[in-house]
């Protein structure tokens, strides 16, 4: 278990997720749920650098196997289109060629890039679809996390800027206005994969819930899964849930420092990179942001916004969320006295299941 004390006083570099002792987010059913437990099946696959878990309701084993196959093939298809780590992906092709001139792409790829650009614009660039070079220079992409040299950081920063990407919807083209720009859909493609799988299974009438790396979740049948809860954990002690959220027809996404981060000389460095190149999560008045959870109508939006809301912090994030009226967010800060929740439009009917850990008000 990682303590607040250790976060502030640690020296040398260590991994915050080393102390992980249970799932980041956990799903649970309330006792009065109508769905018989024996009809729920679960199977997982590794993709996009994480684990996708698919819960589905099917009494038929043969049909369930076919559903898993269709779902995991859909994830693979999306990874093959959007991964910047695969040389043969469409995004890699765009990254190689879009500075040379307008690049034609297919409608699906164009639409997701357009959506990412729209979110980039609405969040003032705190979600930035071109942040890849910064992620790389910090070593998060290659799992070789390090504090970059100032010059390398400055050079990487030069290659970031969603405004340097030009889309032409009339012709479905993407063009970069500057050499070195590259698209990085890592903070949105996972959510898009969840949405796409839910759509595939909705078409065949199979109720399902998908959990991507415990950070993005959505169900395709609000009625069947209405009693399912997602436990948002205490970022300092995962065994203690802070909040139970009923998913209903919403998508949920959580971003935080407890995964893919490291502590060096008392500072936390997170894989969530500020567009100016800063990796440390926002802190103000002695309060350190540890985690943010976003509820949104779809998983694509929730995934992208959880990154942006983490980098923006509560105050700026709440303002930014005015442009996303159907979304809500819950930030969890810590200070010397414990945890402090901050919320924007957080649903009132959700249970705060472990109030004792907070010393502030949401």
């Amino acid at each position: 278990m990682q303590s607040d004390h250790a976060l502030q006083r640690g020296s040398g570099q260590h991994d915050l997720s080393e102390s992980r002792n249970q799932e980041f987010l956990t799903t649970s059913r309330s006792p009065d749920a109508e769905l018989p437990i024996e009809s729920i099946r679960c199977r997982s696959c590794r993709a996009m650098g994480t684990e996708f878990k698919l819960y589905l309701s099917s009494a038929d084993e043969i049909q369930a196997q076919a559903c898993y196959l269709a779902a995991f093939e859909e994830i693979e298809r999306i990874e093959q289109a959007f991964s910047r780590f695969r040389d043969s992906s469409e995004v890699s092709r765009i990254n190689r060629l879009a500075f040379n001139g307008p690049m034609v792409t297919d409608p699906e790829v164009f639409q997701l890039i357009s959506r990412a650009m729209d979110i980039s614009r609405k969040t003032g660039g705190f979600f930035d679809v071109t942040v890849g070079s910064l992620t790389r220079v910090w070593g998060f992409a290659e799992h070789q996390r390090r504090i970059p040299e100032p010059q390398a950081l400055a050079e990487a920063r030069e290659s970031v800027g969603w405004q340097k990407v030009v889309l032409d919807p009339a012709w479905r083209t993407v063009q970069f206005l500057q050499a070195g720009i590259e698209l990085d859909l890592g903070a949105i493609a996972k959510g898009y994969a969840v949405d796409s799988v839910m759509e595939v299974l909705r078409r065949i009438g199979v109720p399902a819930l998908m959990d991507a790396g415990s950070s993005s979740m959505m169900a395709n049948d609000a009625e069947l899964f209405r009693d399912w809860k997602v436990a948002i954990p205490n970022p300092l002690n995962r065994a203690l849930p802070l909040w139970d959220v009923k998913l209903g027809n919403r998508a949920l996404s959580t971003s935080g420092v407890m995964e893919q981060s490291f502590v060096q000389d008392g500072c936390i460095y997170s894989h969530l990179i500020h567009p100016v190149g800063q990796s440390a999560p926002p802190s103000a008045s002695g309060q350190q942001l540890l985690q943010v959870t976003v509820l949104a109508p779809d998983s694509t939006l929730a995934d992208a916004l959880s990154t942006a809301m983490f980098l923006l912090g509560h105050e700026q994030g709440s303002q930014s969320l005015q442009q996303f009226p159907e979304c809500s967010a819950l930030w969890v800060y810590s200070d010397a006295n414990g945890l402090i929740p901050r919320a924007h439009q957080w649903p009132e009917d959700e249970n705060l299941c472990n109030k004792g850990v907070f010393h502030g008000k949401a």
């Binding site: 076919a66 093939e73 034609v104 297919d106 409608p107 919807p169 009339a170 012709w171």
Partner: protein
């Protein structure tokens, strides 16, 4: 091709309206070079290939045909517009705004759809396997020859630079004489598509056509096509015989198609292709292991890896032998253990998806009146090889190509 140029111009005009075209054309394609593509079979493979085609500048999809209506909405989602839809491919082929047709229907329907499209005067991209039977393959080859229209078989790995580079090395003798190829396509799933709840009785055979004999060529056709095509290219001929075995041994769910198939094909030069398709383990994935007397090549969907045979070059005779004429005896120190050298991957990364390469090549052939690499003869060779192995599987005995072609 005046007709095509006229249609292309007309299509570009239509595009200007429906796409809200403005300014110059960033596709950098002359109006006469726009290709309007119609699709017969809008299932998962059809949709995947449509996305690839739409990444090629100057391509529009102007018709979608399927007998399963939910595919229309899915197909239009892929095209991003209200593409005209048809339940009868003959009606679609009557439309004027079609330059080329992509056939992505079940294998057993390829001949009917491909030949109709060729006869309508269009260039055709036909998915593999070219046909399910010898008669199917002959019909397609004869129609393509008669009409003179461009036909490209869906052998996309023939367009992958790592495959082309490997074939070139083999041709140059870099791995010596190729004597054997072991090809695997191992997966661990039931190879099923989910069927909408409550409609299993009506839709099972339509959506899971690969599992039933009516339209399917089984694992040999679905998985073996690429590998047999590569073997035929390397060995420079059709196989002279095949044996095969397989069964429904694990997924006993009512399917008619074997869930595991193994086949050995012998070639006139004394070479062997051994293929293995299982659905219960994916350790080996999909690969072709090409064995030559001086080295090996492992081909996968993403790369080619080269291994030299582990022989040291001639070395100087050690002094103790030259001077004392003495050898030292002892237990055998080297057995026939597999060697795992580091391998060499000269073609790495920075290459496009093989499907996209194949689509781009097809469009290029239409624009420049060129013959595809995976042309009708390559398709026929591949299709007939699959059909031969399937015949051996069906008869459970060795079948020679001579008797099969009679």
């Amino acid at each position: 091709m005046e007709r095509r140029e006229f249609i292309g111009l007309a299509a570009a005009g239509l595009g200007a309206i429906s796409l809200g075209m403005k300014g110059c054309n960033p596709h950098n394609v002359a109006p006469g070079d726009w290709v309007n593509l119609a699709v017969i079979g809008v299932g998962s493979r059809g949709q995947q290939m449509m996305r690839m085609m739409l990444r090629v500048p100057g391509v529009r999809i102007t018709g979608l045909c399927d007998i399963y209506e939910p595919r229309f909405e899915q197909g239009r989602k892929v095209t991003g517009e209200q593409t005209p839809v048809y339940k009868d491919y003959r009606k679609m082929l009557e439309a004027h705004d079609i330059d080329a047709v992509m056939v992505t229907t079940p294998v057993g329907l390829h001949a009917e759809h491909i030949c109709a499209a060729l006869d309508s005067g269009r260039a055709v991209y036909g998915e593999k396997s070219m046909g399910r039977s010898l008669a199917d393959c002959n019909q397609i080859r004869d129609t393509a020859r008669r009409t003179g229209k461009i036909f490209q078989t869906g052998l996309q790995y023939a367009y992958a630079p790592w495959t082309q580079e490997a074939l070139q090395r083999i041709q140059q003798g870099k791995i010596g004489k190729v004597t054997a190829i072991h090809a695997y396509w191992h997966r661990n799933n039931n190879w099923r598509r989910p069927v909408p709840q409550g409609q299993e009785a009506q839709l099972e055979r339509l959506l899971n056509w690969r599992l039933y004999r009516e339209w399917s060529g089984g694992l040999l056709a679905e998985l073996g096509s690429h590998q047999m095509s590569i073997a035929n290219t390397i060995f420079g001929s059709l196989p002279e015989s095949a044996i095969a075995s397989g069964g429904i041994d694990f997924w006993k769910d009512g399917r008619e198609i074997e869930d595991n198939v193994h086949s050995t094909l012998r070639y006139p030069g004394g070479q062997t292709l051994q293929v293995s398709y299982i659905t219960t383990n994916r350790l080996d994935g999909a690969q072709e292991r090409i064995y030559g007397t001086a080295g090996s090549i492992v081909l996968t969907h993403t790369e080619a890896i080269y291994y030299k045979e582990p022989w040291e070059p001639n070395s100087a005779i050690p002094p103790e032998i030259n001077i004392e004429h003495k050898l030292i005896t002892g237990p055998t120190y080297s057995a026939e253990q597999p060697y795992h050298g580091s391998g060499d991957t000269p073609i790495k990364g920075k290459v496009d998806d093989a499907n996209l390469l194949a689509c781009r090549a097809f469009i290029d052939c239409i624009r420049n009146h060129r013959r595809p690499i995976a042309d009708v003869e390559a398709g026929w060779s591949q299709g007939v090889t699959v059909a031969l192995a399937n015949r051996a599987l069906e008869l459970d005995r060795k079948v020679t190509m001579a008797e099969f072609l009679r």
